[in-house]
């Protein structure tokens, strides 16, 4: 039974300003750090495509099932995000180790022959993200202390 209430002058002004603001809404990426390598570029996909990520897509288990190349792609191109963090965790589950001094990922290729106090003998492969492939690191002494 209250019926409409005519807007007072102040509210009319507020509505006018709201209408104007409606023309340039904030975008969710305005609240995120700049993504130099993979900025958001939403492209409309057919409605029969999945519009939402699969459930638990933000869990380590989900990431563990991704291929190694995918994990490295996420790690290097989505830096500073939760995706990078999950990719790092998944890579560790795939027995990769991140060498903080050389900023590279290593995976023991074969069990090291001897392990001494500060380095491990053995051959190692690493992921060369420049060439985007795994390569063997010849004659490399593994500085254990930098292992992350």
């Amino acid at each position: 039974p209250l019926g409409p209430v005519p807007l007072v002058k102040d509210h009319v002004y507020q509505l006018t300003m709201l209408d104007a603001a409606y023309q340039h809404l904030p975008h969710p990426s305005d609240s995120e750090r700049l993504r130099h390598y993979l900025p958001r570029n939403p492209c409309p996909t057919p409605s029969y495509y999945y519009q939402l990520p699969p459930p638990h897509a933000d869990s380590v288990d989900f990431f563990t099932r991704l291929s190694t190349e995918t994990l490295f792609f996420i790690f290097y191109y989505m830096e500073g995000t939760k995706a990078q963090y999950l990719a790092a965790k998944a890579l560790k589950k795939q027995s990769w180790r991140f060498h903080t001094k050389y900023m590279m990922w290593f995976q023991r290729h074969e069990e090291p022959k001897t392990i001494t106090e500060d380095f491990e003998q053995g051959t190692y492969i690493f992921f060369d993200y420049e060439k985007w492939g795994q390569r063997k690191k010849e004659g490399f002494t593994f500085e254990y202390r930098y292992l992350e």
Binding site: P26, S31, P55, Y76, G80, M103, E148
Partner: protein, 47 residues
């Protein structure tokens, strides 16, 4: 009659909390992992 609130893009039956992936009041979907800034070890910032 209001709005069917299950169509606003929020998983209201989720056992997990919603706010940590809340993208925006105008977004039809939660954040994806690559949308969320995260305090990763600084060594990960390799670029």
């Amino acid at each position: 009659p209001g709005i069917d609130l299950t169509t606003l893009g929020l998983n209201l039956n989720s056992p997990e909390i919603l706010y940590s992936t809340f993208q925006s009041p105008w977004a039809e979907a939660p954040c994806r992992p690559q949308d969320i800034d995260f305090h990763v070890p600084s060594e990960y910032i390799t670029n």
